[in-house]
């Protein structure tokens, strides 16, 4: 015993696979340290630092991608963390969302005259949590990633010190988020009790080889996990927090919630349900089917009666979660690839749309009524034009990335013989189009001579808008690159 005490067996760590995570976490910690040591940090530094970190992750992802494609998926740290195509793909999406959010935040914080380091530190940490979720090979690691992601976002939502709405949004998000985490955790405990492990690969192995005589505990675990993750991605009926939080939180933070948090949440849903519980898909597919129908319909229909553009976009993001669930429900490689492609398109659409909302919101961040958009087409033709493209993209009009995304998930549902679901999803897409048309009509057909003046667009949102609009149109005309990447990014489970 004593002789062995000197050598502690440590698990293998693939450092190359952790590079994106280390960049994000390291950048956050370094920024926080420097900001607390240096009395007056140049105003441009935190945003630039965050953008550089995001771009560094995007660059570091390229060699990871080719290595994963060549050598196949790997797992390390005693099988607790894995890396596969979906990990790399979702990491890249999170990096894009980080860069966009940082660019928007800088313009926003300057306009609102808010102190600015914390937002960037929390953004980087939150992104690190998302990367952990996308590479989790163990339910407890998944939980840790989710909490790192969520806790940072709770604080980000509260960061506008002078708006009581911001703090109200944070409290609502926090209470419901903690509630959801408890459900998720209870689900993890029950799945652990039924299968004897928290490792995804071992659970998958157990489920595909064993016949359970009493499966009550396992099914309860499935249900609780679905509730917990459903809250995080704002699926109806667990969506109640989303409109209030979107309306109250600072607009750049909402861009991150819509793009980043949703991408990480669906990466987790795919890993847990499609990948790990895949052999029991008959048991959970009906539940996801119901959630998907409620979410596409609920999000689209309730969006119609909103008068606040931020709330409209909140309900539309709920509807998007529904479309993503349609792809999850298929529980096939095609469905998974469609979900990942959808996430790619939605990241661009959400970042771009909330860039417009950030600008139009004006000083005080409260001009979000439909009135503020009246006549925007005449007053700010470029801004209105960009918003029009992004809204048409969200509606899923052909020749935009949104069409490719919606087509992918609906085709996957039809392939899985869920014809009713595919039909309802198409119907909901038509209803949702009405919402986007309302904004378009307000922008182009209403006279806005008495509407509040819109400030000139700062360069941060300008870059976000230019890149997102260009990519939305490019991927709409030539969807090949996105669809091929998503196909190669289908997750694989490797035991440790």
């Amino acid at each position: 015993m004593l002789a062995q005490a000197g050598t502690v067996a440590t698990p293998e760590v693939l450092w190359w696979a952790l590079v994106p995570l280390l960049i994000l976490a390291g950048a956050a910690v370094l920024l926080l340290t420097v900001a607390s040591l240096v009395r007056r940090l140049p105003e441009w530094l935190p945003a630039t630092w965050t953008v550089v970190a995001g771009l560094a992750v995007l660059v570091s992802v390229v060699p990871l991608w080719s290595r994963v494609q060549d050598e196949g998926a790997r797992s390390f740290l005693a099988g607790a963390v894995g890396i596969d195509g979906s990990t790399v793909f979702v990491t890249a999406l999170l990096a894009v969302a980080v860069v966009a959010t940082a660019l928007l935040s800088r313009a926003y914080l300057t306009r609102e005259d808010l102190p600015g380091v914390e937002l960037y530190v929390l953004l980087l940490l939150s992104a690190a949590g998302g990367v952990v979720m996308a590479s989790a090979n163990d339910l407890i690691v998944l939980f840790l990633g989710l909490e790192l992601l969520s806790i940072a976002v709770y604080v980000m939502a509260a960061l506008h010190l002078r708006r009581i709405q911001s703090q109200e949004a944070a409290l609502k998000y926090f209470v419901l988020g903690a509630f959801a985490s408890a459900f998720l955790l209870y689900g993890i405990a029950l799945v652990y009790g039924a299968s004897g492990s928290t490792g995804l690969a071992r659970i998958a192995g157990y489920l595909s080889t064993s016949v359970l005589l009493e499966d009550g505990m396992l099914l309860a675990g499935f249900g609780l996990l679905l509730v917990g993750l459903g809250f995080k991605v704002a699926a109806v009926p667990f969506h109640a927090w989303a409109p209030d939080v979107y309306q109250g939180a600072p607009t750049p933070v909402v861009a991150w919630m819509a793009a980043g948090v949703k991408a990480a949440g669906f990466a987790a849903l795919l890993r847990v349900f499609v990948l790990t519980f895949g052999s029991w898909s008959g048991e959970w597919q009906p539940a996801v089917w119901g959630l998907a129908i409620l979410t596409v319909l609920g999000g689209s229909v309730v969006a119609v009666v909103q008068t606040d553009v931020k709330r409209m976009l909140a309900y539309s993001s709920i509807a998007h979660a529904g479309f993503l669930l349609v792809g999850v429900q298929a529980s096939s490689d095609r469905g998974t690839a469609a979900v990942l492609a959808y996430l790619g398109a939605y990241t661009l659409l959400a970042c771009g749309s909330f860039a417009v909302v950030t600008v139009v919101g004006g000083a005080g961040d409260d001009r979000h009524g439909l009135d503020a958009y009246r006549g925007l087409g005449a007053r700010r033709p470029w801004l209105a034009g960009a918003f029009a493209v992004l809204l048409l993209g969200q509606a899923g009009v052909p020749f935009t990335a949104g069409f490719v995304a919606k087509f992918g998930v609906i085709a996957a549902a039809a392939e899985g013989r869920s014809y009713a679901l595919a039909g309802v999803a198409m119907l909901a897409a038509a209803v949702a189009a009405f919402v986007y048309l309302r904004i378009l009509v307000a922008m182009y057909l209403d006279d806005g001579s008495d509407a509040a003046e819109v400030d000139p667009v700062p360069w941060g949102p300008r870059i976000v808008l230019a890149v997102s609009v260009a990519l939305v149109l490019f991927l709409g005309v030539l969807p090949g690159p996105l669809v091929d990447l998503a196909k190669d990014a289908v997750p694989v489970l490797v035991g440790g």
Binding site: I140, I151, E168, V175, F179, A182, I188, A189, Y192
Partner: protein, 101 residues
């Protein structure tokens, strides 16, 4: 009568339900936090008893992770409450109703 693992699991389920119902019913943000804690600790009890029943350590290790995360969560939650109470003393969840559609 012998106390088996099922007793602990039942107790965990009861505590979890109490916490969940309490969170939905009570209006004081601090009490709502305590309900979240009750839910998390019910999960901890479930983890420990399942780990014991399976003869597996990872159930007990999980509890440490949950405890740490719960502590971090409470720090953030209390921070948000303090920020709100500074502006409106004695606010309950019903008073927070600026946001609605």
């Amino acid at each position: 009568m012998e106390v088996t693992v099922a007793w602990y699991l039942t107790l965990g389920a009861v505590l979890f339900t109490l916490g969940a119902v309490g969170l939905l019913v009570r209006r004081n943000p601090l009490v709502m936090f305590m309900c979240v804690e009750l839910m998390l600790n019910a999960v901890n009890l479930t983890f420990v008893s399942l780990g014991d029943a399976l003869g597996d350590l990872s159930g007990q290790v999980s509890v440490f992770f949950v405890l740490v995360v719960a502590a971090a969560e409470v720090v953030v939650g209390l921070g948000i409450i303090v920020a709100i109470m500074r502006r409106r003393a004695g606010a309950t969840a019903d008073d927070l109703s600026v946001l609605r559609g």
